[in-house]
Symmetry: C2
Subunit: 369 residues, 2 copies
Amino acid sequence: MKPILFTRGVPAVESFPAEELAEAAATALARQGPALLQYGPSPGLPFLREWLAEWQGVAPEQVLTGNGSLQLLEFLCLVLVRPGDVVVTEAPTYDRTLTLLRRHGAEPVGVPLEADGPNIEAFEQAVRKRAPRFVYLIPDFQNPSGATCSGAKRRRIAALAEELGLLLVEDAPYRALRYRGEEEPTLFKLAPGRTLHMSSFSKLIGPGPRLGFMLGPSELIARLAKAAEDTYISPANLAHGIAYEWCRCGRLPAQIERLKALYAPRLEACLSALAAHMPEARATRPEGGFFLSVTLPEGIDNAAVRAAAERRQLQLSDGRAFFPNGGGERFLRLPYCALTPAEIEEGVQRLADSVHDLERAGSAQLASK
Amino acid sequence: MKPILFTRGVPAVESFPAEELAEAAATALARQGPALLQYGPSPGLPFLREWLAEWQGVAPEQVLTGNGSLQLLEFLCLVLVRPGDVVVTEAPTYDRTLTLLRRHGAEPVGVPLEADGPNIEAFEQAVRKRAPRFVYLIPDFQNPSGATCSGAKRRRIAALAEELGLLLVEDAPYRALRYRGEEEPTLFKLAPGRTLHMSSFSKLIGPGPRLGFMLGPSELIARLAKAAEDTYISPANLAHGIAYEWCRCGRLPAQIERLKALYAPRLEACLSALAAHMPEARATRPEGGFFLSVTLPEGIDNAAVRAAAERRQLQLSDGRAFFPNGGGERFLRLPYCALTPAEIEEGVQRLADSVHDLERAGSAQLASK
């Protein structure tokens, strides 16, 4: 039986524009060889910052590029976070962010996430009572849940940020990958002076160029750039220059369309398979991105399902890792982008079999009591 | 008057093998596209680690690659250093290392550097009395002084490391660039179980690929790789894969020969200009690398020379920045690699004029008293 990995939120290798990047590499090295190969300014290649600024509708000084967006979050923590600081997140949230926050001694405080974004009463209570150093949110096609924050909740969060002087960190690497429905405004748009907007080319070109970027107030961006300089002098200019050249040639829009055409059927395959094999499962219905999530039936926990699934050559993530303050025993993240529709169908079938086995075992145990 | 920058230790742009890298990029993306563009293991691309291991005569598990060697030092600090820890360095030493150590709350303790390496009595006293978390040394063509540690001192340092259980961090990015004289064994060779050896392709290919690497005991390398994963998931695989392909094609030896042919005359130009224009200056006589250093005449300090030089469009670094515990008022680093012999001659002339002006002003002042 072929192993199926429902574990990592990685892009599909068949989505990588390898030939276009080879062409871009040749052009970029011919046009800008010295800039790509020498040390450079720590916020990134000036022409890349300008291109990103134009694309995103900000000034170049508001753009920080770096080696993946996680590292940019690391710089933010270096500059702002002191041990004991509170950072408000969604619960569940991106597990690597939790690891990073904890490494800096921060206390992540999770706000329950609903299908349309964080529970807004709990959010308000958390930000009013806990005076967080910052708030970390993934409003679009959230990792790990797949939920997208509604416009109404975004506006409320932005208003609270203005009222309380909060710093919002909006992590939006999946935002361009909307398969259906209407886009909501970013928090950065709604509260530009209060928001750091993070994104990345990892889900657009591929993770290999390690091109993440952050948009925000220029003074804060300059402080983060100093932390970057003290950490690695300059970012990965060779790779970033190649990505820039690829963007400059106008490749991005067609690539985004290709990604949507590749991934939308995978999301559909996942939803259909869940409907067919686990009609009782409560699943999110994302409108884009990389993930959907399932709440397991009561009495069935993540650890037991993972063990049962492993016997069927199906690998699942531990849902508890996404919850900052405990919980998640019945939470299951299903990243569908790197699997073919056939693998997704087979994977969900194995998942359903694993869950149903556990349910039968549970009933038998109850009956024998 | 054209400005001359004796400030940064950067390679010459004309040394960058841009065309060879464009070719390597095309081949690498065709051969290994998915590995270069996907997330990968945090210690680096497996085939790159294997190539480095073979080159350096170690096992692949002993190799950690990262986005420049400074970032690898950051991981070491993350894993080992706690506020208040002592780290023994040379005095002077690489200023960015001092910044990084201080960011982690370490106390750098400098051992006076001599023409043939650290003063060994002071070194022994420091490591015996201060129980350093680690010892940071640049034995070959040291930054900023240009000094190379003698074989005898290396063996004494290695013996002390064994006796006292010290961890030696050997930063050796210039080692391959020896223009004359005989190579001494690395500390890693003399005390393999006690040494982390760091190097980089920044001075061989160029800084743009951000390819640094560290060799050391595999258990420690694994701990650093975890810190790397928590910081940026994977290193800059696209750029590292291109550098790998360039190495795999056997480009490195010829490139090193080209670099020596380019840089050796620049070192000679610098030494000749100093002999001609500042015969009274005490300068190091490096056998390779990027830097030489000058001790200014007594009574002439760095800040005054920098101001006088600036009026002549000559930029100099503040020598004090290289000294962990004060001093360096008369220390001047001269990085010669990124300047042509004519620029070096002109730069040293301007430096001599600046110093002599100050000397005359000083004599006049004394005479008028």
